[in-house]
Structures are given as C-alpha cells and as structure tokens.
C-alpha cells in the first residue's frame, strides 16, 4: 500500500494486509499524535489495511 506521510511530505510503500495499529508501530508513530485516512475516510486502530489501499498519516500536533 502507498502511505503518504507529512512533516515532511513523503510517500512510502508498505506491505498489506495489516492493522492500522501495526502500521503505526512499524512507522514508530504514537497513535495519539496522528490520524489515519484511507481514501477520504478516517480509520481506527483496529481497521485492516490492504495492499491496494492509499493511506495518509495526518499529524495532529500544531503550534509553536
């Protein structure tokens, strides 16, 4: 699956199927700091992601 990451913007290829929580763990991301979007739908940590999914990891922290 194609995974779009922000800050900085980059795309990585990951193998599916796997659950959202496993994807975040592999990317060393704390679930509290991001949202995961499949297409244009939010998914939760126990949702299953497939090889042909396009995923965006949206950071939620802002401000300086």
């Amino acid at each position: 699956m194609k995974v779009l990451l922000n800050h900085p913007v980059r795309e990585v290829e990951m193998k599916g199927p796997r659950r959202v929580r496993e994807l975040l763990k592999e990317l060393s991301l704390l679930p509290e700091t991001v949202l995961v979007v499949r297409g244009d739908e939010l998914v939760t940590e126990d949702d299953m992601l497939r090889d042909d999914d396009r995923i965006e990891i949206r950071p939620v922290m802002s401000g300086g």
Partner: protein, 312 residues
C-alpha cells in the same frame, strides 16, 4: 470498531472518555463540548457578535464551523504574516472557507500595514520570530475586535494547547502567567476585548478528526518558524503520558482550572488586578502595564533600526 452511541462504523476512538464515535456522533460530541464550554464559562450568547481569529489551520476553521452549526454569529479575522508560501497557502484556505460559507472575513496584512513581514520585523528588532509574532497577533486581535465593535474575540486554542502551555509555565515557575491561563479573559477595562477559548474541552486529535469528517480543507503544513518550538516538545511529552494513562491532559488542565476557581474566592479578581496596573498606551491608546505598549515599542525600534519602510 463500532460507535458506542449508534453502532455505526467508528471513525475515532477516544480513550480518555472510554468511547468511540462514528462521523455523525463525533460531530455531535465536538459541538456539544464546545456548547458546554461556551455556556458553563459564560463566554457569549446567541445575540453577541463573535470575531474568530483564524489561521487556516484545523482548530480555528473548525471553531468557525462549529459556531455556525450551533447558531452563533461569528465572523473571521486573519493576520497575513507574510511568511512566503506558507502564508499564501493558509490565506487561500481561509478565503475559500469563508467564501463558501458566506462568512465575513477581515484581513490585516503585515507587509501592507507594518511595511514588512514577520521574519523581517523579527530580524530588525533582534527578537525571536515567535515572540514578535505573539506580540503582533495579540495586539491586532484585540484592536480589531474592539474597533469593529465585536462583543468577544474567540481563538481555536484546544486542550493540548492549554495543557502544554501550563506545563511550560509550571516547569519554569512562571506563576505570573497562570492567572491568564483560563478559557475566558474578561474585557477588564476600556480598550480590552473579552477573549475566549471555546475548544478548551477538546483534544487536538478530536478537532482534527472533526475537520476531516466535516470536509474542512485546512492547512496541514506547519508554520516553518515553529520548527523546534518548546511548545511542540511539551505536547509530545504530554502525548506520551496520555498514551500510557488516558485522561492525563484533561486531569492536568481541568484540575488546574478547578483549583483556580476554588482559590478565586480569596483573591482579587482579574478585572481588579488589571484595573490596578493597566493604563492606555500614549501612542496607540491600547491598555498596557508599561510606559509604552509592547507593540508600539517594537514598531518604534523597527522603524529606528531598520532599512525597511516600516509604517506605524
């Protein structure tokens, strides 16, 4: 995962409330939390005119959206800081959002009105950019709300913003700032707008989820000047604590507010304190504790030291 209210597919789990919501119930939850903050803290009423300070980010655009959903009269105010592509993109998001919803938008442009963008101004006065940005934004938020006759100025500060700011103040024992850390600052004297934070009950992640499910097109890119900011470090630390122990952020900030409220009976009010120390700035007339307000001092220094055509 299923929504705990209606059993539809959940889009967000909220461990601090032991719950999960679908799109519709998440929107209802966010609006209910904002309404509770507005009502319980006596922020404003349906008849009041609210000016929302918007940046193009998720919090301020969501706040504007929520206020309109709840039936409040809210307009937008944007300060164009002149930070290259970042400002161009954030301004475009604000303009698209307000135009699509028929919301009145006021814009203050630093390059037009002060004669230089935020980075150039910070260089001229040899101060950190974020510090100059804070001074300028606070000044223009207050001045615009007062001059245009709004009852109240609202900002999109959320639970994470307030908890991380509190952590920073406590770590450095900046107790003089704690009085101003509540979700409501009164219009304690002429020239001061009442300031409110209707999203203080909501976590940053809940607001970002609200923005996504409600198709709010906000700027995801961070301000380039915020890289390495202490506030992001404090947020990161609090998020680690929250992951291990859900509810930590709200216990920290709401606990502080409860303690402040209990202590309020034995201490002079913020209005009394403000009236004792504030007077009008001789240059611009806005309230200040110093001889000249920090904005006028900053602009005078920029005008004196700088080659740029800085206007006052």
């Amino acid at each position: 995962m299923r929504c705990r209210k209606c059993r539809e597919r959940a889009v967000l789990e909220i461990p601090r409330h032991h719950t999960a919501f679908c799109k519709t119930c998440l929107t209802d939850f966010v609006c209910a939390q904002a309404e509770r903050a507005i009502t319980e803290e006596k922020m404003f009423a349906k008849a009041d005119h609210v000016l929302v300070a918007v940046s193009g980010g998720k919090d301020s655009l969501s706040l504007l959206d929520i206020l309109h959903k709840l039936g409040y009269q809210a307009d937008a105010f944007y300060v164009d800081l002149g930070i290259g592509e970042y400002s161009r993109q954030s301004r475009a998001k604000v303009e698209q959002f307000t135009k699509a919803r028929g919301v009145a938008l006021h814009i203050h442009e630093l390059k037009e009105d002060e004669g230089a963008g935020i980075n150039e101004l910070a260089d001229l006065v040899h101060r950190p950019t974020c510090s100059v940005c804070g001074t300028l934004k606070r000044y223009h938020f207050n001045r615009t709300a007062v001059e245009l006759g709004y009852h109240v100025l609202a900002t999109g500060h959320n639970l994470d913003d307030e908890a991380s700011r509190l952590l920073g103040n406590v770590l450095h024992w900046q107790t003089e700032y704690l009085d101003k850390q509540g979700p409501v600052l009164p219009a304690s004297m002429e020239g001061f707008a009442k300031k409110v934070k209707p999203l203080f009950r909501l976590a940053e992640r809940e607001i970002a989820a609200y923005a996504i499910v409600n198709r709010i097109d906000y700027i995801v890119e961070e301000c380039p000047n915020s890289k390495g900011a202490k506030m992001l470090l404090y947020k990161d630390i609090l998020n680690r604590l929250e992951s291990e122990s859900p509810g930590t952020k709200q216990a920290f900030y709401w606990g502080f507010l409860a303690k402040q409220e209990a202590d309020a009976k034995t201490r002079p009010s913020m209005t009394d304190n403000d009236q004792a120390v504030l007077h009008p700035c001789p240059t611009c007339g806005q309230p200040t504790t110093a001889e000249t307000c920090s904005y006028c001092k900053l602009m005078a220094r920029a005008k004196k030291d700088g080659p740029a055509p800085v206007r006052m």
